[in-house]
Symmetry: C2
Subunit: 688 residues, 2 copies
């Protein structure tokens, strides 16, 4: 479950937008900040005293996959444990028609066999600083939304730049509580990341799309990488120790990971907009792309292999969004939200001290209407080829400005990540790019109408299909050296370029900037309004709060326990033996086919070994690959999914039937040893 | 290729709406009326003199599947030959978990083994009468659009009723040339239709969705039924004689079938509306349903079997619409249409005699805007369960009126067909109905917004999923006797019913009628405007015209010949041997798996026997199953598809790379004899 695998469908600005506080918490709710731990809750609910050193060790052992997932260091020699589906993108990029590592798995017998990933960036959070006052000092009364946003961006960029220069660490200012707090996150970056071991996709994604977001599950959804520094395995002092027994029923457990986005602060109007406009459109887009890639995959085995990574991400997102939309479509949810809101609003209006906050709900309402008017007016095309051209076009113009004045992704602080993505040697397939670009051009025409002058200019008198064929046949951007060469030129050289993808991006540039600028304004208005709602809630409900998710490191906690759904009692865990039974129950038909390696090793396996388990921790997409640890801070599992009932987590937490699903560490060790004959990795992970 | 298999996505009113004349014809263009044959064209282009008796024999041998396809009588004992995919609906209904006739095929060894289809109606066109003057006489100057439409409906209903009473034949007034002509079609109906033979779906739909709308093809897409009268095989005097050699490269051939809908008269504005609004919405709906059924099918083999029929229809439609939309998205097409239109409009304006016609284009333009405002405001839910409830609710109210005043489908002339559908004993599956209804309720909420009072009333405070579960669990409409019982009641009894599906349909009834009425008005305005454009074209371009398709019997003609596409030369025909090679080329993987019966019989087969072939005849969805005959009027093939380039046929004909695809009759006979051991059927079809 990582709908960040499908990140290009979530505009990055949206990802970073919804960053707001939550009222009061219940049960095991909460994605807590490492510098604001739920000490009272853990003490009251679970009689557990959080020790700051305990938490710091966990923070340092946690790893973020910049591509959209979580992970952890699990050995002193830089071994990194994450989900197979977080690694999938890399596994596809490393695969060739001859060696399909995603499908067939991979095992390096020693360091020399470990394969460098083409464009991974891993982040280890090493420090957090509160820079709220510094950010707020840049804003003065009477600034327009645009001015305020620009001033805030400028100060944030300057803080990031100073920090980078001083520390040499990746430095991101994170907006929390809808602008109530600004924290500077300092990350050590690892960019030499090598593949160590991956199981077959038949084991990692056993049950496929049919079982996705379901429970009981039986997936070995894990993969091992290793980070290197200066050509040798990195030395990691704060890695997690493994508890070979793993989690047990009823255990208090903790999850350290990077939940991508939640929107629990949203008002009823904002939720109604999501329900009626944004999500239905997103579902249409996802079904469109899913359908397109399924059709493309019918072309043959090789086509299916090329499309599989994107296709999985899209199917995963589609299922996730359908769960979210289903939650919103329950009339009782928004109705109860509206009721709570009316109570809060009345308290605000009745309290003279809070008077200035009273217009926030109206402002959110108006913002939804502006958003609705803008939807379908995207200023970009979702294709890798186009994205490369667009990045180059924007970069050349942005580089002429001071870093603080640039669009966010072109600031100095993000430079390395940007270039790693732009100059990635990962293979691109002209036929797939043509298919995707043609569909995006058709989508553009459908969104804006065929008579729109911009559409006509971009299509240059051709049908979407012919135009895409023409651009893909003529482009030289598949070649990384050409990208670098063009990017090294100036604006004048660019404007004379006859590179067709670049010309297309140039034709779109002004509109792209216009829309980004309007979105910025809308987001700023929203930010200001939610900041007021936060203030009102602080004033009325006091503390006990955690901010909405921001794809930054959080700690969640809960209990390993089963649940009852529609009268069926579901156990806290499944075992390796259950996986074989599940296969038989489905007549060993795709996607319920365990790999040959599992069948070969079956007789040697300890079949009662736990394979997957569920817990009540508050997680969401982005948490994929998060380590699950026990009270001693020892590794007992790896989060890889949430059940269908947990998909409302974007808007609300519940522990009634919602559960996070993890791979049990005992299952990982048993499989590594008996199935994959990788005792050297077991030894490395369990070394004292 | 029958996007009428998916008829519930094409509102019936739309199906019957676009009935307009075409300007000038080119090459083998045209779907000609049997009472207005293209004698001059055939003589000039192919030196062929059409003999009226020749044409009448062909007309009488042609059969229409009321469910949305074409066919022909091929023996004196009532044998009917159509496509397997036209029969699929019936094959699914006759199948059980034990006997999957769609998948595994069926063969009756004698009459006693032939299985009655639950709800088929076959139509044989026996006479056509021009009733234009009679219809027009009912309209007087100064009538409002609503009055004109009502008056026309009333006179048409009365003509149909009189004819039915007098002849005992099904009598339909067909609106041709956008109202330029009205013809009364008299059909002999056959409702006792029995399954005789069907091949395995692996042979009929070899290559599946991947090969659909492609060429070369290798499909035995045929099935045999038999019509009965009074419990014995019907005696057919005008059946087609089979030409065992079938078609040959370069042959002049004729196709007699029921093309469903074309819109070649559409103005540029109407086409732009299709391109920018109607078709993108349709594509979203189709992808939505496809996705839904694919997810449902993941539940298991039985679920997959239940969903397969609808799923195939939807995938077929989706691919067809994507081809049509692709054609419209070529800017040069609408541009050239706009140019032609400007020329015509200028001639009209410059000609004082035609002055009154000049506002037609503006009127069409305005109508598109009204349509756009109405789109997404459907007054119904597309589910079989809901459709049954809705039919009963409307029927009870309509039955209280005189036949002529009723909604079209409730008039006496359509009574038998309506009841056959309503009381069909075909199996319904609660889990599938729940899935479909839940999705339709969600779709309704997305279309109208969750705060819409009508939506709230229909959902009754529940989520779409819960509401659908509640209705499906509580309904008794799965039982045919209950349907009859409720339908026998009056309006008062109905209003007190606590049958949940009926209550839902009652809550929707007023809105449904409001929308139908507005659609009627829009269609009337459109009809009047197109009638003017037709008049202008008649006045300026003269004759050489055929009306847009109306799912009534037409004759098309063309040449059996190959073509060149992207530099590849494609042969006029494929052979049975090629089918085996195609299977090997795709590693015998699904959907390229020929049935065991083919492999068992391979050594005895004459492999060079033609299996499929292409021709330039002008066809479209609804033509599926149409007989292809030679100059002697003998059966040489059966239409089953068009290639992807032919999908523009809705809007324009081209013979450059567009082709109709047929099963070659020699392949049918060879397979019947050698693979299916059905020499008795070969003998029946080839009897002198």
């Amino acid at each position: 479950m990582s709908f960040f695998r499908c990140q290009h469908f979530l505009s990055f600005s949206i990802l970073l937008m919804a960053i707001f506080v939550v009222r009061t918490t219940q049960a095991d709710e909460g994605m807590w900040l490492f510098n604001q731990l739920p000490k009272r809750q853990l003490s009251e609910q679970h009689s557990f005293g959080v020790d700051s050193q305990w938490a710091e060790r966990l923070m340092l052992a946690a790893v973020r996959f910049n591509s959209g997932g979580s992970a952890s260091f699990v050995s002193a020699n830089g071994l990194v444990l994450t989900n197979h589906h977080v690694a999938a993108d890399t596994l596809y990029k490393l695969s060739t028609p001859e060696n399909n590592y995603h499908e067939d798995g991979f095992l390096a017998k020693d360091f020399s066999q470990e394969i460098p990933a083409p464009d991974l960036e891993l982040n280890q959070l090493v420090a957090i600083q509160d820079v709220t006052d510094k950010v707020n000092s840049a804003l003065t009364a009477g600034m327009s939304p645009q001015e305020a946003a620009k001033a805030r961006q400028a100060i944030m960029a300057s803080i990031e730049k100073d920090s980078l220069d001083k520390s040499g660490l990746r430095s991101d200012v994170v907006t929390l509580f809808g602008g109530g707090k600004y924290h500077l996150y300092l990350y050590k970056k690892y960019t030499d990341v090598r593949l160590v071991w991956a199981p077959e996709s038949g084991a990692a994604f056993f049950g496929g799309d049919a079982d996705n977001f379901e429970y009981p599950r039986y997936c070995l959804d894990v993969t091992l990488f290793r980070v290197y520094e200066n050509g040798t395995p990195a030395k990691i002092s704060n890695h997690l120790r493994t508890e070979p027994q793993g989690a047990t029923d009823g255990d208090l457990i903790f999850v350290a990971g990077n939940p991508g986005r939640t929107r629990r602060i949203y008002t009823a109007d904002a939720l109604a907009y999501q329900r009626d406009v944004a999500m239905p459109r997103m579902m249409n887009l996802l079904r469109r792309k899913e359908n397109l890639l399924l059709q493309y995959s019918l072309g043959g085995d090789e086509e299916a292999r090329r499309a599989k990574d994107d296709l999985f991400g899209i199917q995963n997102s589609r299922k996730a969004y359908s769960g979210m939309l289903g939650g919103l479509q329950d009339p009782s949810f928004i109705a109860s939200k509206r009721e709570l809101e009316a109570t809060l609003e009345k308290k605000v209006v009745d309290n003279p001290k809070l008077e200035s906050l009273g217009d926030a709900w109206k402002s959110i309402h108006e913002v939804q209407q502006r958003k609705a008017a803008l939807i379908g007016k995207s200023g970009t095309l979702k294709s890798r080829l186009y994205s490369i051209a667009e990045t180059i076009v924007l970069m050349i113009a942005e580089d002429a400005k001071a870093s603080a004045d640039r669009l966010r992704q072109f600031r100095d602080s993000n430079r390395e990540s940007l270039e790693q993505e732009l100059y990635s040697p990962a293979p691109m397939y002209p036929d797939l790019e043509r298919t995707l670009l043609a569909d995006e051009l058709a989508r553009l025409m459908e969104d804006r109408g065929g008579d729109d002058p911009l559409v006509q200019s971009i299509l240059a008198g051709k049908s979407p299909r012919s135009r895409a064929a023409e651009v893909v046949a003529g482009t030289k951007l598949f070649d990384v050296a050409t990208r670098k060469e063009i990017a090294a030129g100036n604006g004048e050289a660019l404007s004379k370029s006859d590179e067709p993808a670049i010309k297309m991006a140039l034709a779109f540039e002004a509109e792209h900037r216009r829309i980004e600028s309007e979105m910025d304004e809308i987001e700023e208005l929203e930010r200001q309004a939610y900041a007021k709602i936060n203030q009102a809630q602080f004033a009325i409900s006091g503390d006990s709060v955690y901010p909405d998710a921001t794809f930054t490191l959080r700690i969640a906690y809960g209990i390993a326990k089963g649940y009852e759904s529609d009268g069926v009692v579901l156990p806290w865990s499944t075992t390796m033996g259950d996986a074989f039974e599940h296969e038989v129950r489905h007549h060993s038909q795709s996607p319920w086919i365990l790999p040959k390696s599992w069948h070969d090793a079956k007789s040697s396996l300890n079949l009662p070994t736990p394979l997957n388990f569920v817990c009540t921790a508050d997680i969401i997409g982005g948490n994929s690959g998060s380590p699950v640890v026990n009270k001693e801070g020892k590794l007992v599992g790896v989060i890889f999914d949430g059940n269908i009932d947990s998909l409302t987590a974007d808007f609300y937490y519940t522990d009634k039937t919602a559960r996070a699903i993890a791979v049990h560490i005992s299952g990982v060790l048993e499989a590594l040893s008996k199935i994959y004959k990788a005792d050297h990795l077991v030894d490395e992970m369990t070394a004292k």
